[in-house]
Amino acid sequence: MKNQYDETEFDSHLKKLNSNFLWKKTKKQELKRQILTEIEQLECHDGYKTTHLSIPNKRVSLIRKLAYSGIALAVLFGLLIGSAFVSPTMAKVISNIPYLGLIFQSKSVDTLIYDELQEKGYNVRTGIRYWPEKIIEVSIVGSEPYYNEVKDDVENIVNGILESRGYDAYSLNVNKYTTKSDYVLNDEETKEKGLLEDEVANRLKQSNYQFDRIQVDPTEKTMFINIVGSKEYYHSIQDAVEKTALEVADAHKYKDYKVNVTRVTVEVKIADKRTQVLPAIAEGLMSKKEFKVTGVSYKSKPFSIIIKTSILSSDLTAKTLGAKIESEIDDFLTSEEISSILEDEPIEVIVNSKDNKKIN
C-alpha cells in the first residue's frame, strides 16, 4: 500500500511541474503578436507554403557542408575513373595513365566478367581463348530451362563489360555448362593398372634403371615411364626399358600395350618481375581489333616482348601499325607505376608481321 501511495505522490509531484511553471503574460502576448503578424504576412504571400520558418538552425551546419562536399568529391572522382574506363583516350587526356596502364591496374577481363556475373547471382565458368579465334566463353551452371531463361541476360551483361572496356575483338560464346567427369576405372582395369605398375617397377629396379614414375593407363593400353638422368643415359637405356615393360605385359597376357618412355625434367624458375607487365599488354592489345595482334610472347635474355600481328609486311599500313603498337607499349612501360617495377631494365619491343618480319 505504501508503495502505491508513493507512486501517486511521485506522480502528483510530476504533475505539479506543469502548474509550477509560470510564463509571463506579457511575453505570451508578445509571442502571439509575432505569430499573428507572420501569419498575416503569409496570407499576402501567394506561395506561402514555401516560406521558411524562423528556426535559427535551418542553416546547413559545417559538418554537413563538409560531408556534402566530401560526397561530391567522391562522386567526381568516381566519374573521372569511370570515364577513364569508357574511353582510353579520355584516360590519357585527364590523368596521363596510358591505356595499358589502366588494364594493368584493373582485373583481367575474364575475372571481371566472372566476378560481375557471380555478384549478380549467376553461377558460371568463364574462359578466354585467343586461338584459333578470339573467344570469350561463359558456361552457365544449371538446368536447361534455367540456362534458356538467363542466357540473354548473361550475354547482355558480358557484352556490356566488353563494350565498357572498348574490347571489340572477341566473339562471345555463352553455353550451358556440362560436367566432364573423369572416367572411373572398373575393378578389372584397376587390378591391371596396379599389377603392371608394381611389376614393371620391380623389374626396372632389378636392372638398376633410374626412373621416377611409372603410370599405366589400361584404357589406352599405354605405360608411361619417366627416366631420370642425363640425355645420354636416357638414350642408352630407352629401348631396354621399353622392352622390359613389354615383357611384363606379355607375361601377364595383356596384349597391345604401348610404352612411352620419356625424360621430362621439371625446372622451377623464379618468375622474372618483368613478366608482370605481360598480362596487361596481352589483354590490351589482343582485345581490340585495331591492333590486329594475334599473339604476345617474351624472351628473357635480353628481355624482349614479341608481338605477333595479322598484318602482312607488304601491307602499306604495316609500319604505322608497328609504330602504334610500340608506342602504346612504350607509354605503358615508361609510366611512373611500371618503371618503378621494372627498375629501369631495358626492354626491347619487337612487333612482327604475319609473315614474321619486324615491322617496327
Binding site: D6, F10, D11, H13, L14, K15, K16, L17, N18, N20, F21, L22, W23, K24, K27, K28, L31, K32, Q34, I35, L36, E38, I39, E40, L42, E43, Y48, K49, T51, L53, S54, I55, P56, N57, S61, I63
Partner: protein, 175 residues
C-alpha cells in the same frame, strides 16, 4: 478565406501555448530556443491547417508538430553541442530567464533531473506524467506504438528516480 484559420490558431494559442512552450522548454532546456520553436509550431499549424484531420484533439496535433520541430532541432544541434562539450569540458547550462519564465522552487530538482535523462525517456515522462496525455495520444504525438509508449515509460520512471537520488533530492527509502 484564411480568417477562420487565423481565428482558430489565435484561440489555440491562448489555450495551449503555455503548455506547448513548457513541453519544448523541458526538451531543449533553453528558453529562447523554446520560444522560437513555439512560434514555429503555431505558424506551422497555420500552414498545414488543412491537413489537420480532427482525428485527435487540436492539442495532440499541436504537440505532435512541436515534437517534430523539437526533434529536428535537437538532431541538428547535436554536433555543435558535442564540440562545445568537448572544448569547454562542461555541459551547457542555460538558466531560465527569471523575468519571463519561472518555475516554483519545489519543481526545480525535477526540472534538472529531467534534463539529464535521455530524450526518449524525457519526452514520454513529460507527455504522460506532466502533460497528462493518454497512452493513445502520447503514441500519436511521438508516432510510436502504444506498447512502445508503455514500455519506455516503464523504464523511464526508474531512470528519473535514479537521477533524483543522484542529485540528492530523493532518498532511497522513499522509493
Amino acid at each position: 478565406l484564411g480568417d477562420y484559420r487565423k481565428e482558430d490558431i489565435s484561440d489555440w494559442y491562448d489555450e495551449h501555448s503555455k503548455s506547448v512552450l513548457g513541453f519544448i522548454l523541458l526538451m531543449v532546456n533553453n528558453y529562447q530556443q523554446a520560444e522560437d520553436l513555439t512560434h514555429d509550431t503555431f505558424v506551422k499549424a497555420y500552414l498545414y491547417y488543412d491537413s489537420f484531420k480532427h482525428y485527435s484533439s487540436e492539442k495532440t496535433w499541436l504537440f505532435s508538430i512541436a515534437h517534430n520541430l523539437t526533434v529536428d532541432f535537437l538532431r541538428k544541434r547535436k554536433p555543435s553541442m558535442f564540440f562545445k562539450e568537448v572544448f569547454f569540458m562542461k555541459k551547457d547550462h542555460n538558466p531560465l530567464p527569471e523575468e519571463v519564465v519561472r518555475l516554483k522552487e519545489d519543481s526545480y530538482e525535477l526540472y534538472n533531473a529531467l534534463g539529464k535523462l535521455k530524450d526518449t525517456y524525457r519526452k514520454v515522462i513529460i507527455l504522460r506524467k506532466i502533460k497528462d496525455f493518454s497512452i493513445e495520444e502520447t503514441a500519436q504525438i511521438l508516432s510510436w506504438s502504444e506498447s512502445k509508449v508503455k514500455s519506455t515509460l516503464h523504464r523511464a520512471i526508474p531512470a528519473l528516480k535514479k537521477q533524483l537520488i543522484k542529485g540528492g533530492y530523493l532518498h532511497e527509502e522513499s522509493i
